[in-house]
Symmetry: C2
Subunit: 811 residues, 2 copies
């Protein structure tokens, strides 16, 4: 791995000393991509045999070994056994070949099925193989559900810790503490002598200016402590644990390999720091990080099953399901989770994965429910009950909210990306810890005085979602003389609450822009939902008061008379649509979350509006924007390639380049092959019939070639530099005195993908996307012309969009 | 079209006189497939120029004309204009080429985008083009919603007509009639003097044996009348209107062309006969037919927009969305509809279609809600309200129900397919009308005495879903002395009800097997849901009574004490899972339908169990089984191809076959080309550099070739049989005295798909499925070897499964 002057060892995962976690990792990615990937324009990479061995620290994303390529004569070899260790595996920061991986798995499956007829043991192996997928899903569901439950409980406890402590046991949270107390009354559920605020404990009095200041300071102290611990742990042990993780998981699912990103250290550190980050009061959620945690669980559990350990494509199916599990446990929304994985995260999502995701999400939700972290036996985080049918007039405010959501989403993405780019390109990036501490301090300073920002995001949303019943003492229900619920003027308390909410809205909008992308685990869903809920509640109350004072207005007729206005309704406001551009999954999550089944139509209207409005300002969602910012090699499946170039325009070599390096199926010596491989930078070589005809025979990967030659030199007698390398089926007669030839047909891909030079690039891109190719050869009238790699396509797309191809792809 | 001795004209759609609608149509399919499709083993088809013109009666599935192929030099031609009418279009019963269609659309889009910079008018055209998709979705939603509302109202009215008539206006249904009466009390909502049963009207007394017999006879009379009208209309005007339509729509969406299947006559007749069939009391639902109706609407509306009229791939996107709309209006379940389309029906479902389906389903649901056919302002058909959390013990009965559902599903599919095969192969098929009348008579005879079978499927389900409140007078709530709701022994009434339910269960199971597949519109969802609901209720009451009498049993401890048993819960029983093998979409539909949000986990458990159990007996769902029964060319995307054959084993020509017919890029005369085309049966010919080298240049379709030559002979001076046909870019110099050459590069596909002879068939099948190919050329070391068509693959798969390739594919 000592290539290109970089020493990237497993130690990186343990001792990571620069200030910027993603920055350095991305540099590594650049270095490796430039070296290893299939592009024709990168530096020489002397691959050391054995250098593909697994690194201790990572644990994740590692293809340890795999069967030989399942085509041609290699069919005769047992695909369960490795011909040569290393052949068919991938380097770190490399793109997998989906077609080969899937073919390999089918060979494996066929082998097992064929064997199963022989004996009972083999039949049992076959059955256990068939059920291993479901078993794995069960384990992923159980593990993720348990972790999510633990995270919920710990975060709840630490969040309350910022305000006070339980005297009967510091490990109780506020609610639990008072629950255990006999002196708690139903009216004042959250007050009991056992729970003491810090002011009470230190100064002895819970009231007064001094107590307020003590509480304030303690709040800031804990927030800073948690934030510091979070960022320090991330930096010290698992730099990959920062951020939401969804852009990287999208990239991994699209077929990229980032070792250690889903490893055990990332899992442990992300779990711990997620609790700390959420508790610190920063404006972040746990959706994205939980998806990352679930994917780590899945990746680690994959190692228990050969089928998934050895096959990158199969493993990605499991990871797709794990993404569904993550959302399922984040919101208690199993169906929404499956849809999220389908719509937002996954690249390849066959129906089989749909069913398995469904199962895993179910198990996870069930596990979480058994742990019961919210203490209400419900899966639903914010339970809302509405059954009154909605009125046509009410669509208007929903659409208004959709427009607001879309504007906010577009603005948020721009501002956040601008800020993240600044962080990447300026010295700011070197002060990750300081940045987190400053943001945490600012957040705590500004959040404490306002009760709506002081509470955690989830609490805020659940407060906003609450109905005003007659007994409710919340400020938000501060109406004057409540004669009947449906018709009431606002009172003092409500006006105060509205002011505070408006301030909270502005605060949340601004602070979230800075927070998302810091070096702590951070999700975006809860903050954007909080913004949506505040906006919805404000609009709802506004509409209600308007309707109260102007009963006679045309639009309110029929509406108020039949059932009065309902300010609470508009809080079902899926603002996330503007940010992430999810639609169906978002609505499903929203109504699994809230139970607001009646409101599918207005919710859909709001979501679609918000998506359209946001799309008008730029088609990228926040995750795609971050993928592009970080230069991951991700071929966006949603956007159409809309340019009239042909394959011949994109392929290498260009006219000014040297001719394509290719091997001939016979006639080259080992020495010549080695010289060619050494002198070029390509990671794969087409094999042709002869230099004259240039008719394509197959494709051989640099890595496989080097490993095989090296192995042959070591173990096979008589293989010297003068030995012939033969790719043909039948070995040509060789001179009796010469060395025996080296047969390498086994490592050659006999079915390389080809397109003609006249193939439009839109079709080529489609082929790459749908089949998950690494490279494709270009022919003209049967003659080999050149090669197109995924990177060439990405560069070409960047070129079309007037972005600098190199800086965009690997900055 | 007078090919192969078949005369298939548009008149068929109007005057259809044989007894078996599908039978003859399928014969046509066979004939056409054998003639037109790309296989190398079919009869000569003298394609008459102009024979591709649209047929009046059909209206659907017709690709009227299209731009030239968007590759190579044809880029220079304006893709909005037709080079030659007919070039690039498809014959009836032919498979489309997805890649070309999508490429064509991208060319179109590019053209419009490029033009839009020129003038304001072009900009407006571009904008309207961008929004035409959404506009179309809006129209589809509105039209389908309106039609569904009309069908609901009409079916409700006609169903009540079987029992009696409203004196104040025969057009009122029972509920509406009594609603308008002043004498109706709340206690006896369904009794009022204005509504008279037939006995009351005829004999003057509503009670007594004679009255019962009169009612019985009238019930049978109306049932027979409706059934006869339904089958007669289907036979006379639109044979395609029979059945559920989903197997055919799946086939069409996979890229097959069946003209008239989605035409206006099918729409009109299916709408009318659906009402009649549902009202006749036959054991059928309206889910499938409503999907068909929505697809017809979409197909007809597609003709308003050039973009969709001219492009088969784009139209299929709209049809996918329409399938979602169909389910959305059938159940008031927009999200479930989208998932249904994704999981069950669609072949190609990009995210863009997801969003549009979502929108269309929303509009349709909204339209339906505005029409308000159920009179309760709810989208939800069977509203259930459960909020009590469920207990772990309760999972067991849910899984039990799942097992029952799976067994029933597997059994149902076998029995139904066996019966349908009998209908196809024996003389039974000739008596479609008699069959329907006999089944309707049997259904009516057996259904009337049992109140649970007498009511319509939807009513039955909603009765079974009902909670037992204290005031409920329904038989199902006939408990002894109801002290508290949670703890009650069964009374007389309940026992009677249980017996009736058990009989209804057996009856429904048996009659549905015979009913599904008759020559009337018939859906399967409501009957299978009814079976599920009955089984669920029976089990629920059983569990309840068991718990009542055995409080002390271990499993009931904790359960009964906390909240008592709840028999109603188990009625949420998605038995469809065993029949259709839907999972996620089914659960979503179930809980959109019932609002049983709390029960996602048990519902999922039941669905998964039912799917697994059914899968153990056979992997095919009912729709796939019907597709196979009818021999549609459908490449199942769900099943993995699991055999180790290579492309060379599947391709034509086989070793014993004559050599592959190919054209050379220059050197052939018009006469020679025509002779080759006449002497072979293939619908496409590869073009090679020369007969010696056999290096592939491109691929040209028979249809395009014939049209072009014919057109050239008519319009271009000097084109005679001795003219050279030239496919090269530059015309070679020709003798001054010879005729000028005919250039045909424009109609040649310059980027034919190729695989090597060593490509494993699993990869090839994957390519066919994912890219939607018609054919693929096979090369060896750059030399053309043969061709693989979709039909070759299907035949190969049938061969592997030990089924006779020919009889399976086209019986």
């Amino acid at each position: 791995m000592a290539a290109c002057g970089f020493v990237v060892s497993s130690a990186d995962h343990f001792h990571f000393n620069t200030a910027e976690c993603r920055r350095l990792r991305v540099d590594d990615i650049i270095a490796h991509l430039t070296c290893v990937s299939l592009s024709l324009s990168c530096l020489p990479l002397p691959l050391l045999p054995g250098g593909y061995e697994v690194h201790a620290g990572g644990g994740g994303g590692v293809a340890r070994a795999a069967g030989v390529n399942g085509t041609g004569p290699s069919k005769l070899v047992d695909p369960l056994e490795d011909l040569l260790p290393g052949v068919g595996t991938y380097e770190d920061f490399n793109t997998i070949d989906w077609v080969r991986e899937k073919s390999k798995d089918r060979d494996r499956h066929r082998e097992i099925t064929n064997k199963s007829r022989r004996s009972t043991v083999d039949l049992l192996i076959s059955v256990s193989d068939a059920f291993s997928g479901w078993l794995l899903m069960l384990l992923v569901g159980l593990m993720s559900g348990a972790l999510a439950g633990g995270i919920d409980i710990a975060a709840h406890w630490l969040t309350d810790m910022k305000e006070g402590v339980c005297l009967i046991g510091f490990w109780f949270n506020h609610e639990h503490c008072c629950w255990n107390s006999n002196e708690t009354t139903f009216q004042e559920r959250d007050r009991c002598p056992q729970w003491q605020s810090w002011a009470e404990l230190i100064t002895g009095t819970p009231e007064g200016a001094f107590a307020y200041i003590v509480n304030y300071l303690m709040y800031i102290f804990w927030a800073l402590l948690f934030a510091f611990l979070a960022v320090a742990l991330v930096r010290a042990f698992a730099p990959y644990a920062c951020g939401s993780g969804i852009p990287e998981i999208k990239t991994i699912l699209s077929g990229f390999i980032i070792r250690g990103y889903l490893g055990k250290w990332t899992l442990i550190i992300k779990t711990i720091t997620l609790v700390l980050a959420v508790s610190s009061g920063l404006s972040l959620g746990k959706e994205g990080p939980l998806v990352h945690v679930a994917c780590c669980c899945a990746n680690i559990l994959c190692h228990l099953f050969t089928k998934y350990r050895k096959n990158e494509a199969k493993r990605r199916e499991v990871l797709s399901a794990a993404a569904a599990v993550g959302v399922s446990v984040a919101f208690g929304a199993p169906i929404g989770g499956v849809l999220f994985s389908l719509e937002e995260v996954s690249y390849y999502f066959p129906l089989k994965t749909l069913w398995r995701s469904f199962f895993a999400a179910l198990v996870a939700a069930f596990t979480l429910r058994s742990i019961n972290p919210f203490g209400n036996s419900r899966l639903v985080l914010f339970y809302v009950e509405f059954h009154a049918p909605w009125h046509l007039v009410e669509l208007a405010p929903f659409i208004l909210l959709g427009i607001f959501g879309g504007l906010w989403g577009a603005l948020f993405i721009r501002a956040n990306i601008a800020w993240c780019r600044r962080r990447k390109t300026t010295r700011l990036g070197h002060y990750a810890v300081t940045e987190v501490l400053v943001v945490a301090a600012v957040t705590a300073l500004l959040a404490f005085p306002n009760s709506y920002t002081r509470m955690s995001g989830a609490e805020l949303i659940s407060e906003l979602f609450n109905d005003c019943s007659l007994l409710d003492s919340s400020q938000l229900c501060g109406y004057k003389q409540v004669r009947r619920l449906a018709d009431r003027p606002a009172g003092e308390g409500l006006y105060t609450a509205l002011w505070q909410l408006a301030l909270a809205l502005v605060f949340k909008i601004l602070i979230t822009v800075i927070t998302f992308g810091m070096k702590v685990p951070s999700g975006l869903f809860i903050p954007s939902m909080a913004v949506g809920a505040i906006a919805g509640r404000l609009l709802g109350v506004g509409m209600e008061q308007l309707a109260y004072y102007h009963h006679d207005w045309f639009i309110f007729k029929g509406w108020c008379e039949t059932k009065g206005s309902k300010p609470e309704m508009f809080r079902l406001n899926p603002l996330g649509g503007g940010v992430t551009r999810m639609t169906v999954s978002l609505v499903v999550i929203m109504f699994e979350l809230t139970g607001g089944l009646e409101y599918i139509v207005p919710l859909m209207a709001a979501t679609m509006t918000s998506k359209w409005v946001a799309d008008a300002f730029g088609r990228e969602g926040i995750y795609e924007a971050h993928i592009r910012l970080n230069g991951y090699p991700f071929l966006e499946p949603k956007e159409e390639f809309d340019h009239s170039s042909l394959a011949v325009d994109v392929m290498r070599p260009r006219r000014s380049d040297p001719a394509l390096a290719m091997l001939t199926q016979e006639g080259m010596t080992v020495g010549e092959v080695e010289a060619l491989v050494e002198s070029t930078r390509y990671s794969g070589f087409p094999v042709v019939v002869s230099q004259e005809s240039q008719r394509l025979v197959g494709f051989v990967l640099r890595r496989d070639l080097l490993i095989s030659i090296d192995n042959a030199r070591k173990r096979q007698d008589g293989v010297v530099s003068a030995s012939q390398v033969v790719f043909t089926e039948h070995v040509p007669p060789h001179a009796a005195d010469g060395p025996p030839p080296l047969r390498l047909r086994g490592i050659m891909d006999l079915s390389p993908f080809t397109v003609t030079d006249h193939t439009p690039m839109d079709i080529t891109v489609d082929i790459f996307r749908k089949l998950g190719l690494r490279q494709c050869l270009v022919t003209h009238n049967g003659k080999l012309l050149g090669i197109i790699t995924k990177k060439d396509i990405l560069k070409h797309m960047a070129h079309i969009a007037n972005r600098d191809p190199d800086s965009i792809l690997f900055n």
